[in-house]
Subunit: 232 residues, 2 copies
């Protein structure tokens, strides 16, 4: 059991409250591996053998159907993914691939379920994490059903700005074609949506965004904590 990586994991909300003994049991069968970019980690429909923890890099969660595909979420350090599948011992609903070189911890799902059954602190942390994920998914549904693609982009930019520190100028941190997919549109449509936000003060230069008039953009985007606040 190489200690590298597991110390970082221990600090996660998900694992912080469990006993040392149970944590040790959990990581006994786990291992940390470094993957290159663009590697498929899991495919939707696969049995959920491992709980994954992204330690560095980033992971794209996506799904395909009938020749189409869509990005559903991005996982950034340090957090886990496919917890719900692990808990239910059900097949993955999404596929996952590395977006860049990434260090991933893999914890056998059966160990997670076993410790979950005997460690109340762990169980409670899992509940908190699942509830948050659930709520995030609901927010995403509201975003999709209540907003046009232009409004989704505008609100995404405001969220990203806040994440990046609140500055008027910030980096996208998304490949545009993938951002388009996350926002539920085509790359062409995203290109035009950026143009469509110019009248509200948005300037795009490569991956750098400038919000020229914060209030003007917010007046258009009408951000709502019940959709856009990641913590609420």
């Amino acid at each position: 059991m190489p200690d590298s990586g597991f110390r970082e994991i221990r600090g996660l909300d998900l694992f912080a409250q469990m006993t040392d003994q149970n944590f040790a049991a959990l990581v006994r069968g786990a291992y940390v591996q470094t993957f290159p970019a663009q590697i498929d980690l899991v495919a939707e429909g696969d049995p959920s053998d491992f709980l994954h923890v992204v330690l560095s890099g980033s992971v794209d969660l996506y799904s395909c159907w009938n020749g189409r595909d869509t990005s559903l979420a991005t996982v950034r350090p340090i957090s886990t993914f496919i917890l719900a599948a692990t808990i239910r011992d059900a097949p993955y609903l999404m596929s996952a691939r590395t977006l860049e070189k990434s260090r991933i911890a893999l914890i056998p799902s059966q160990d997670v379920r076993a410790i979950f059954d005997i460690d109340g602190g762990f169980a409670r942390a899992i509940v908190a994490e699942l509830a948050q994920g659930y709520r995030a998914a609901i927010k995403s549904q509201k975003d999709l059903k209540l907003r046009t693609s232009l409004e989704r982009l505008a609100n995404f930019l405001l969220r990203q700005q806040k994440r990046a520190g609140g500055d008027a100028s910030f980096e996208l941190e998304f490949e545009k074609r993938r951002l388009a997919s996350v926002l539920g549109m085509t790359p062409e449509n995203l290109s035009r949506a950026f143009k469509g936000l110019q009248p509200y003060g948005i300037t795009v230069e490569g991956n750098r965004i400038l919000i020229g008039d914060q209030e003007d953009l917010e007046r258009f985007a009408k951000p709502n904590p019940l959709i856009d606040d990641p913590t609420s």
Copy 2:
């Protein structure tokens, strides 16, 4: 503590595994109430004071933003809603209103959280429920992002058919304007979508649907367990 209603609740997966003592504590502060149709039970943004359990009737979960609104889910007996908000002690993300005369049990959220902290069986059941809800929300996102409205309707009909017993003819159990909203389209568009499925053997007469050629419809709808199977 009127026993009426609580016996039914006890049988739910969510409450089945907890101790008698804790169940009694949970329902001590709870009450059952009958509401007429079209009554708002909670509004999005409200603090989550109660976990709700639908004992009879049905409840619409919906959300509004910027003058638009959308139905996100329907709760039918016997199940709970807004569990995630209760657990996180966070504001409701959706509003809820009765669709018909309904009997609802209201359990104070603080009691749910308190018992959750001391009853491992309850905590585990909550995890299972949250994980299922989470996965349902992901499936719904995939449905929205990967399918056209015609495909969503076709797959909805197949799901509803299965729910109704698998017969070629079955009842919708949805007001059409609300079904349109659930499927993410306008009532006019739904009307036309039904027409658009005629070539695949769909006949509509009021709220009764007839699937003339099962295979033909399935060939078009391409149902997928990772989107359409409610249990997986």
